[in-house]
Symmetry: C2
Subunit: 227 residues, 2 copies
């Protein structure tokens, strides 16, 4: 098999396709066309076909894709079919809402625990997940072989918490704090999720911000090149 | 002035630039080069220059960009310099964490209230924001001219809540529930934020998912075309 380089926007679209296909399967729909799949996600069917063709032949021309088969293949490609232990850092509102976020398990993630430095919280549970202190985190990461951490800590704590996690063996960090975390790529991979970006985006695409000769261009993770 | 169509990935990058420029200004840095700005966001300096050139000449070749001037211009382009009243629907963990999310005000958003159908919550406050019922929401939306709503409700309530918001005059919806909300474009603009996409992305870019001949391609909102 050839090796492909998969761009981030493609992965994001595959993730969206898998969500749609799950819903289709729940509703008992056996076949979906690239046009229907594109409509559901809000992108062009040509992009759908191109994305899916990268990974082999899932579809039949003029008929469509077998929903279950396509879903299984995408799940496998994205690693959703396996169990990934993950640890959340920060037991505040953001950490708690991520612990409660639906679909975590469906995506193959097991939240092993929520780490918090507040000694009053250690030993409690949030959404059924145990809250542990840093000593507990060290033990858990080693014992369970946890390689991924989700940071939901205040902005001024992000860098030090990330460093501490890396020292404990974490290799992948998803940072939800609204500050861009930078870590040497050799030490760990970081994904920064700045939610305010979506607020800016909503304002723009909503046509509420027409000014200065700018017009929003509607699209949804189309992976557009800069034009 | 010419009208530009602005693709979503460009808006997302501009949003990230504005975040970096804020941090630069706080640290008293007067000038930034496209290479430095690109490094901070994790993208190529050529893309930075192309993005910024769309909106006129902010920089001086070989010197860089005036941090404060560039920040002010991007803020204006993104509408961050004005006040946008916004209403959050859902007073659970997700709604509460969004109400507490730092940078909301800095991005020009005023959270007017959090709407919840639980009568026990009406009259309380979350993070200093009043919790109101639907009757209160109707009044508030009319009186304050609220046009934007953020949905943080359970998946099975998303569609009906969105319809109710649109009936009350809401024109733009940011949906944080992990289900793709579809609304006729003539009625309202919707941005769906599916957080599980970022989990899939983290797994992929972290090299933890090397299998099946796939290799992640490192990039961060580069707006890449499908290759």
């Amino acid at each position: 098999m050839k090796f492909f380089k998969v761009p981030e926007p493609t992965i994001m679209r595959l993730s969206l396709y898998s969500r749609i296909l799950e819903q289709m399967e729940e509703r008992g729909i056996p076949i979906i066309s690239s046009v229907e799949l594109g409509d559901a996600v809000g992108i062009n069917s040509g992009v759908v076909r191109k994305d899916l063709s990268m990974f082999g032949e899932f579809g039949v021309r003029g008929v469509g894709y077998n929903v279950r088969e396509l879903r299984d293949n995408i799940r496998k490609l994205l690693g959703q079919d396996r169990n990934w232990p993950v640890i959340i850092v920060g037991a505040g509102h953001l950490g708690s809402s991520l612990a409660a976020y639906p679909g975590f398990t469906q995506r193959g993630f097991n939240i092993e625990a929520i780490v918090d430095s507040d000694p009053a919280l250690a030993g409690t549970t949030i959404q059924g997940h145990p809250v542990i202190d840093w000593a507990g985190a060290e033990q858990l990461i080693k014992e369970q072989g946890v390689r991924m951490a989700i940071l939901a800590v205040p902005p001024d704590a992000v860098q030090s918490v990330a460093q501490r996690m890396i020292d404990l063996g974490i290799e992948a960090i998803l940072n939800f704090s609204p500050i861009i975390l930078k870590v040497p790529a050799a030490k760990a991979q970081v994904q920064n999720v700045d939610l305010t970006v979506f607020f800016d985006l909503m304002r723009f695409t909503s046509n509420l911000n027409e000014q200065e000769g700018l017009r929003p261009q509607s699209s949804s993770l189309r992976g557009l090149a800069v034009r």
